[in-house]
Point group: C2
Chain length 393, copies 2
Amino acid sequence: MLRDEVGSGLRPLSDLPAPRLGIIGGGQLAKMTASAASELGCEVVILERAADFPAQSLDTHTIIGDWDRPEDLARLAGLVDVVTLENEFIPSEALLTIERLGKPLWPSARTMSIVQDKLEQKRAFEAAGLPVVRFAAVDSIDSIRAFGLPAVLKRRRNGYDGKGNASVGSAADLVGAWARLDGDHQSLYVEEFCPFVREVAIIVTRSQRGEVAVYPLVETVNHHHICHEVTVPAAVAPSVAEAAADLARRALETIGGVGTFGMEFFLLADNKLLINEIAPRVHNTGHYTIEASHCSQFENHVRAVLGWPLGSPELVAKAAAMVNLLGEADGKGAPHGMKDALAVPGAHVHVYGKTRSAKGRKMGHVTALGSTPAEALATARAAARHIRFGDRT
Amino acid sequence: MLRDEVGSGLRPLSDLPAPRLGIIGGGQLAKMTASAASELGCEVVILERAADFPAQSLDTHTIIGDWDRPEDLARLAGLVDVVTLENEFIPSEALLTIERLGKPLWPSARTMSIVQDKLEQKRAFEAAGLPVVRFAAVDSIDSIRAFGLPAVLKRRRNGYDGKGNASVGSAADLVGAWARLDGDHQSLYVEEFCPFVREVAIIVTRSQRGEVAVYPLVETVNHHHICHEVTVPAAVAPSVAEAAADLARRALETIGGVGTFGMEFFLLADNKLLINEIAPRVHNTGHYTIEASHCSQFENHVRAVLGWPLGSPELVAKAAAMVNLLGEADGKGAPHGMKDALAVPGAHVHVYGKTRSAKGRKMGHVTALGSTPAEALATARAAARHIRFGDRT
């Protein structure tokens, strides 16, 4: 049993030097958020489903419980000053429990209810005049055909990293895509296939008073729908970067977002931007901000949910890059090649401390600064290529 | 009782994704070291004398015990891969316990035995041809008089932040200084009064293989013997900075130092440097490295004690500054003025999370980057002046 020798419970909230933050979920996003909170003097309590999660070494108290169970959410709320979350999959009805107890929750249950249903998210943006790819609700294979092909069929809820999406190139793909996403039992919608030339993304934090910190536009390279590499600033016309920043502000106002959000765009050949989707949480495309920004996406999230002023999202260097470290196979969580990676000058290696590796699982990342995005990317890749997760033991 | 719901003990070392680090002491230095270790995927176990210490929210296991008791050190050693420490006051005889168990300890008990006796430290440097202020062992008031006045009388052990020092300007001060430092029962030594024009300091990390990372020379401003402000790079001739870096390397070789060390110098009017003293641990004059260096003093310490390659000590900006946040009075540990401080753009506020404030106690610090040291200092001061610790409740 851990900490048993301390022999004391959590201190009362009134005795703490800073607010205590509750986080629903204990993965790497919670870990990096907890680290930022700790630097500001805050304690953190994590609600997770099972022990041995990345954020565990950074919390002062762990609640093992289920995100879907209002009782467990209420237990978390009872121990902390403010509650936040690290994923978008917690049912907004369950989140209402926390607000009904009078405990601040950011993003709010209302924001979460809009964002976590991707169809509702798109409807909200469209109603606010924000550019999104053409979309429609579907309830049958026929309705997809009526929408027009090629298209992308998606689940309304609980999709991430490409899970829950299926491309429908032609009528021959229709039945297979419908079956794969379990259209008979899951709510789906369809989007026009978007001929983008590049994927770009932006991190934006909004405070309870409506103050907004917009980070620079980044370019993302995805493999198999998983964010793999990020470079910043994106090599786009200044007008595109400004347009993206403006869309990010307006999107957060539209959904009443408080906290840090990640927003992905399609950039078209005519330099037009379409909002792909928004994530109501700190985001993989913003991990570079730990080293490259005056105030990281994690610290700004903590500041926002605690009602504190936001920090500067400006870069401390001319450019930066981030490369994800993905598991190559199932196995132990220990990285191979750590020493070689650390020997690369200027590479910042982050290891999340997951007990087990799995193919494609996010196990860590490497960030580097540079005078150009290409230079930074070369440094980050030089370190990342040494590291392998997935010892078959 | 904390973490009781996890219901499991510490995982066996062989199941961990990275080495587990033991730290003797749980103050802010341990907290910042633990944060760097966590980023690299490592777990941390802390040995502290009582609960509610700054590093507690960042460790995976706490041992409440006494640094002087070999049994408690052995308990720590049994749980971790490598042991390190955050202060120089642990008796080297007790530290030998850890080495005798075959557990790596860095800095070694031998290094600690030299450094923690300031007279031995000076003798070692003198024997290696490194410049130190003239000094002598003393065993009586007469022997101080024979050394010559003015002088500074010091305890050989356990002095810090000016505690354990007494200036002896003239013969009239002799009896008072001797009594104040309890010369009848404590081992003392005496140093020539040094007419320095400026105090400068340097952080240096040395690996087990002798690889060395030397950070830039900084200027320190001390009030009442407590480090108060640090600016980097120091406004000195390049030859002075080079000489300091060379002395730092040679000093660590002399004492066989492994890990991060803080080294303070007197700079004389003729640009000559004298070694004032070395601390065998991460140091207050190196806190700026968290934001301002590619690899912080804390991460490099972790890398060194784990036998990993060292990271780059170069600055990511042209200049940086750090201002300590000291308690103004006894009281609760909560900072006043946090929101105003966070509203200063570019200021990085660190709050250590101590439960109680005391006059002069180190409660946090503020770091800022800038294009000049003066600009960075202005930013850090602008934030620091808003924060007050010491609510009389």
